[in-house]
Subunit: 347 residues, 2 copies
Amino acid sequence: MVKHRANIKDVASRAGVHPSTVSRVLNPATRSMVSEDLAAEITRIANELGYRRNPLASGLRTQKSYTVAIVIPDLTNPVFPPIVRGVEHTLDAHGYNAILADSGSKQRSEKGIIENMKARQIDGLILAAARRKDPIVNDCIEEGIPLVLVNRTVDNHNVAAVINDDELGIELALKHLIELGHRCIAYIGGPQNTSTGYTRYRTFLKMLKTFDLPVDRDLIVNAKAYTEPAGQAALEHIMGYEKKFTAILTANDLLALGCYDAINEHGLNCPMDISVTGFNDMPYVDRFNPPLTTLHIPLDELGVQAALLLLERMQNPGALAKQIRLAPHMVIRESTTSPAENTPPNK
Amino acid sequence: MVKHRANIKDVASRAGVHPSTVSRVLNPATRSMVSEDLAAEITRIANELGYRRNPLASGLRTQKSYTVAIVIPDLTNPVFPPIVRGVEHTLDAHGYNAILADSGSKQRSEKGIIENMKARQIDGLILAAARRKDPIVNDCIEEGIPLVLVNRTVDNHNVAAVINDDELGIELALKHLIELGHRCIAYIGGPQNTSTGYTRYRTFLKMLKTFDLPVDRDLIVNAKAYTEPAGQAALEHIMGYEKKFTAILTANDLLALGCYDAINEHGLNCPMDISVTGFNDMPYVDRFNPPLTTLHIPLDELGVQAALLLLERMQNPGALAKQIRLAPHMVIRESTTSPAENTPPNK
DNA sequence: CGGTGTTTAACCATCGATTGATCACAGGCA
DNA sequence: TGCCTGTGATCAATCGATGGTTAAACACCG
């Protein structure tokens, strides 16, 4: 005889009441409709029987699934796991489950993901890598699915998001390099269809002016993607001009890693010949050769905040779309040094 | 007017048939109960209306959710993301969703996770880091929840699992070190309550005999956990004996990383003074200083196979529990070298 | 043409929880 | 005593899909 899981009817009959009464007791919002004594008694019996609400049945009736989806482009990018973990833990603490959708190599279009989400009555969506004009965002808004962006945002500022302060980040990195004595600073940015790529690029240009540094277009390249090969290719491109520069400010740790490759290819040394800064402080960059000077972003916290924001929005879908912005800080390691000792990169 | 998602009744009334007829048509197993012509017509209409089965309702009725849980101890350990990705993609291709349960810092007991899974009608479970005697495994078996272990297995061999060939791995690593000329080889293993920790340790001892090397217990330590601090502590412990050794074989990349720390602390150099091998070839170990010689495990493939195995078991729960074993191979980088040039570690 | 056998599709209860409508009953007040 | 009010619990419909059972339609045959 299979010990079948107690359902609401079991609890009701055991307590000698109607299932609906049990339902009301167990739902905080309706508990007041039932007398205190009975409520206590029913709660006791429910615990005794080990009753758990069946989320499928409940969800069918209420159109809620207590499940949210996290869409990320590639879980193996070390930036995302901490975010996902932060999201997952926070949601879990609130009784929500997280289903993971790695959109990267997914053959289904993003539209397909949304379809799936809708069919499954997903209560909300966390999108970890939106593009600046991302159709998925409009889909969500049209469909009325609560959405929170994390890490990157979109041009339309009416979407809730948890991002980091890119302006501050670029400023900090540039300041750091300037303080070390660098004047000729190359920039390798990210794809311009991402908010981070765009903002960091614009800020870099602005900050050059602010700090009264020369702007040389040949030293500024936006990589095609936030990947090592793209970073390497970008730096190769810059080096092709054979111009002098003593430092590279990159918009992303993986791009910085690509720079390492290009620098090594040319028989040069980081940081002796060229200083490099990253962005994100993803796990293990302190282990690289050399350990990367970069901007630390509280990735866990990003995830936690995104989850909280989503919970808030699911409770109150009409609320104004908040944008939360976390401040990065500089972590100085060994990929940057003063250019005094630099030999100019030559070929 | 909200354009509400077409349900089975909409399709039925549009086709002028009863909902159950539609249901039968859309279920491959029962399609034969309906005439071909009508089936075709219903399929056409369903597509036209963009009908998607509601998994909640369907699951409520059939006790299936088309959802699988992946339980991992810590997503930020770089070993797991590739596995998770492999699992997720494979499941997705078969119409299943994956919900992620990061058990590590989860306050709920593992029992709690199982409870949650059961309540949600989870169809199956993939457990990425079982301990050798893991209560969760028995729970699953008792509850009849299809279960597949990945990466680690349990003592009870009646459980489906996808693991890698630990014996082969240790043999390859040891052979590599011996071929370089090492004779005094330390070993830093993992927790003995994990199958990997246990098997690798036993195999190391066995292989020492096979290769006719001396067994010095002082050079053999099993770390408390697969973490960098634990690896560092283990090596510190070994170094406390001030015995000679020229290489360390570790059972895990993170342990190897901890060894780097201890080696550096003592003012020594890897590989010049001490060679180190890892195990797993987790992402970015090729970037470390020095790039780590380690055993490559096809982590993605591990995930894919685990997902396939689970799908199989969910279809046919009675089937025999298969164990799949993937072969690792050696990736030689710069953390190992011949001891000829070594200066013996002294203090 | 009536009887039997076989498809084919409709009917309806069901999964478990929720909720608007409804009823029972106690107490208050004239 | 009779009527009203309000609290507290029950009734019954519902969410969408499914599947065992049953009715209808049709073919076949003596």
